[in-house]
């Protein structure tokens, strides 16, 4: 049985980026089809660590990040649930004086951006965050950051989009997109043909081939951050924890479980799926128990990982195609797309409506890779740090 659909905007990929764009576009009155090869929110957007953090992002991401920052407290009104979003604050620890110095440099550099970072010394940490163990010399605190439940937020955006009238088509992989007269023709599984005036390529780690088919190859690779969750323990971790230079991050959810990330997983035979390695998970667990003495008697109940698209410069690709009018890209968030995705969705809707946006996104143009004949790398998992860490050399 073949089926035809005619919409203003077709969105490839129902992660948080695609579904927040779908919801925003409906809000502007567009007809929208949201297609996912599996279930919306079942990939990176639904399995990530849940850090809702601006601190540590490269400066050029901060305007977009600030825009998303305004969306998070409004989730209840926007999608009907708060997604367990908690403005707990994000505390980035420094293991040594050199790391503390780079936290200080970062704080000075973003001073104008409204993050209100507070630098805390060793004694201050002892007083305010006594549950953190030894081996930390200081920290930088961003009180407005926090964390949320990705499983609920991402699925919640897709469900809200459906309620708002978006045609949500799950288990419907897009198999080909071609420019067709004034618009696009999409071929999708189940003999579905779609016509659309605009196409948004928000296919996450799978977005490369779509860009390449329009003459825009990108060096997109895959990374698989490893996660561990403990059984519920007494509330003690009041903030979302990060570490300068990477290696470990942790938060405690409302039920008491501690989610800890760090290390890298490896893809399975089917590179769309991945699982932490046993030794990698043990390393995260041991690191967590060393950093947080209260965890020394806790048990780990589950590990998991997810497939994330990563760019070599750690910045996503967001913006209109350089070759094809009506095509808009948004992918390659390199381990940090959860917090900014709701802002990206708004920006994408504006790009469809106005062809432009007030939010600066020039740094994310796909044009920065023009001239490279880079192919999508289905990736071994080698890549950058999952939560892109501010680090001296890599900052432009």
């Amino acid at each position: 049985m073949s089926r035809r659909l005619d919409v203003d905007v077709a969105i490839i990929g129902g992660g948080l980026v695609g579904s927040s764009a779908a919801l925003a576009l409906r809000g502007l009155g567009f007809s929208v089809a949201l297609l996912d090869k599996g279930f919306c929110g079942a990939q990176a957007s639904g399995v990530n660590y849940g850090g809702v953090r601006r601190q540590g992002r490269p400066v050029e991401q901060l305007p977009l990040s600030q825009r998303a920052h305004a969306v998070w407290p409004r989730l209840k009104a926007l999608i009907g649930i708060d997604g367990e979003f908690l403005r707990s604050g994000h505390l980035k620890l420094a293991r040594n004086e050199a790391d503390m110095a780079s936290l200080e440099v970062y704080a000075a550099e973003v001073a104008e951006q409204g993050l209100d970072l507070e630098l805390i010394g060793h004694n201050g940490l002892r007083e305010r965050f006594g549950w953190i163990g030894d081996g930390v010399v200081g920290a930088s605190f961003c009180a407005g950051d926090g964390h949320a439940n990705p499983r609920l937020v991402s699925t919640g955006f897709a469900a809200a989009a459906r309620r708002a009238g978006v045609e949500v088509l799950e288990n419907t992989p897009v198999e080909g997109v071609t420019r067709d007269g004034e618009g696009f023709a999409l071929e999708a599984a189940g003999n579905l043909t779609l016509r659309a005036r605009f196409v948004i390529n928000s296919a996450g780690a799978w977005a490369g081939p779509f860009a390449e088919s329009f003459g825009e190859p990108v060096p997109l690779s895959r990374i698989y951050p490893s996660m561990v969750v403990t059984e519920p323990i007494e509330q003690m971790m009041s903030v979302n924890i990060g570490m300068e230079g990477g290696g470990i991050y942790a938060r405690q959810v409302e039920r008491g479980n501690i989610v800890v990330g760090g290390e890298r997983a490896l893809p399975l035979a089917d590179p769309d799926f991945s699982r932490p390695r046993g030794d990698g998970a043990l390393a995260i667990m041991n690191n967590a128990a060393a950093l947080f003495p209260a965890l020394r008697h806790a048990q780990a109940i589950r590990f998991w990982s997810g497939t994330e698209g990563a760019m070599p410069d750690k910045n996503p690709v967001i913006g209109p195609s350089g070759t094809t009018p009506g095509l808009i890209h948004a992918f390659g968030f390199t381990g940090a797309g959860f917090q900014i995705a709701p802002g990206v969705g708004e920006v994408l809707a504006e790009l469809v409506r106005d062809g432009q946006t007030q939010t600066p996104i020039a740094a994310f143009s796909i044009g920065r890779f023009a001239g490279i004949s880079a192919r999508t790398d289905a990736g071994s998992g080698a890549g950058q740090n999952q939560e892109p860490q501010h680090s001296g050399e890599l900052r432009p």
Partner: protein, 459 residues
């Protein structure tokens, strides 16, 4: 030079597999969580007491003794790690927690003989102290020599229901009643089993008769069960033939037959298919126990519920397959005999399934306030709301939005119930809602679990 095969589980299936491999000159590594071999049914007591193996294993005593003896006789020709938990499998390596550290084992051939655990469905009050699974009740009796209460009711479906009630009565405990969720008429199906295994059917009938003679009330067609009590079990109420019943008790043994432990096969990458008889997704396998992954074999109750006698044969059969696949001599005639015997037991399983049906329909009417997922404290109403609000119709998505099956037990206890409820709520067949994907660790492990030197060397 080929490497060492790994056998997970030292129950009847794992023991017979080990024996066949050793007989062929291989030196397998056998790991089991339990402190001694025997598996579930032939579990050994923790501390020797006055009980004989006849007291412990009844009619199966000679089989138990033979298995324990045969495994002991392999000493020196295999490696055996008791109290060793397999918690992860990846890329031909097994992570095993033993003596407080984690060892990584690169295996060459993997035989999964992980057995089964009790299957239940939630009823009001099922999480009260004093409610045990049938298997749990039996373990308390077998390995610790203690009863689960002073006035006990056994509830559920399956041969184990009558067996455990009978074992309790024989041990001198006060058994107030056996509540069978199937109608009495279902038991007529057992007559079809007489030509296949007359001994087993007659033994079952004799147990039922002895329970009656011992003053134990037997009720059939029991539904709408509610377990009552403030802080521990005080009574059980149910409906039967349209009438309300209630019985005071302080211990309840409850089970609806068994469910296969398949998580290790999932981590090993085995393909699964829905099995109508067990109402669960099971690893695909051929008659010998080969899974979809070369070199990985699955056997015993972990491959699909078939009982202990089948487990012994299936374990040996899988070992013969491993030998054949390695190009070693193997006894093809023996393999054919084992397969024929397994097929006969399989036909008997169908009879048992008809005589002791699973009350899947219970989940349709489960009260919103009844706890569905015990680990994460999620009730049926919250699950229904999550299904409706997020529009999910697949089990892993339901887990993601409701936390059902996300806790310590990873859905071992509530997975079947969640699948049945999801099927009802979305008007789909149970086979269409998917299966919970497994994640390591298979069971909780301490955060401070240390990596051993072996593991570092392996890197």
């Amino acid at each position: 030079m080929k490497g060492q095969p790994l056998i997970v589980g030292a129950g009847p299936a794992g023991i017979r597999a080990a024996q066949a491999l050793v007989a062929a000159g291989l030196r397998p590594l056998v790991v089991d969580e339990a402190p001694a071999c025997g598996g579930q049914i032939y579990r050994q007591r923790l501390i020797p007491d006055g009980r004989s193996s006849r007291d412990l294993y009844g009619s199966e005593a000679s089989k138990a003794e033979a298995l324990h003896r045969d495994f002991a006789a392999l000493d020196g020709r295999l490696d055996y790690w008791p109290q060793a938990l397999l918690w992860n499998l990846r890329d031909g390596r097994a992570d095993i927690m033993v003596e407080g550290t984690s060892r990584q084992v690169a295996y060459d051939g993997l035989v999964l003989a992980t057995g089964a655990t009790d299957r239940t469905l939630p009823v009001p009050g099922w999480t009260l102290p004093g409610v045990f699974t049938l298997g749990g009740a039996q373990i308390a009796l077998k390995s610790q020599g203690c009863a689960i209460g002073s006035r006990i009711v056994f509830l559920g479906s399956g041969p184990l229901l009558y067996l455990v009630a009978w074992q309790y009565m024989k041990a001198g405990a006060k058994v107030a009643a056996v509540l069978d969720t199937a109608p009495f008429s279902a038991k007529f199906n057992l007559l079809r089993g007489l030509p296949l295994f007359p001994g087993i059917v007659l033994r079952g009938m004799r147990m039922t008769a002895e329970l009656k003679l011992g003053g134990v009330a037997l009720h059939y067609g029991v539904g709408d069960v509610r377990i009552e009590g403030a802080s521990t079990v005080a009574a059980i109420a149910w409906r039967q033939d349209g009438l309300e019943h209630r019985l005071a008790c302080d211990g309840i043994g409850y089970g609806l037959a068994l469910r296969s432990e398949t998580q290790a096969a999932d981590l090993a990458g085995c393909r699964f298919a829905f099995n109508t008889r067990d109402r669960a997704a099971l690893p695909e396998r051929d008659a010998a126990g080969r899974t979809s992954v070369p070199g990985v074999y699955i056997t015993g109750d972990g491959a699909g519920i078939a009982g202990a006698d089948a487990a012994e044969r299936a374990g040996e059969r899988a070992a013969l397959a491993l030998l054949q696949d390695r190009g070693l001599p193997h006894d093809a005639a023996r393999a054919a005999t084992l397969e024929a015997e397994l097929a006969r037991i399989g036909r008997f399983r169908a009879v048992l399934e008809a005589a002791f049906p699973f009350p899947a329909h219970w989940m349709k009417d489960i009260a919103d306030t009844t706890t569905l997922c015990r680990c994460e404290e999620v009730n049926a109403g919250e699950v229904r709301a999550a299904i409706a609000n997020f529009g999910v119709h697949e089990l892993n998505r339901l887990k993601a939005v409701s936390r059902v099956g996300m806790g310590r037990c990873q859905g071992r206890v509530c997975g079947a119930a969640a699948a049945e409820l999801l099927a009802h709520e979305t008007n789909r067949g149970i086979e269409a809602v998917g299966r919970l994907r497994s994640q390591a660790p298979l069971k909780p492990v301490p955060l401070t679990l240390a990596l051993t030197a072996q593991q570092e060397a392996a890197e």
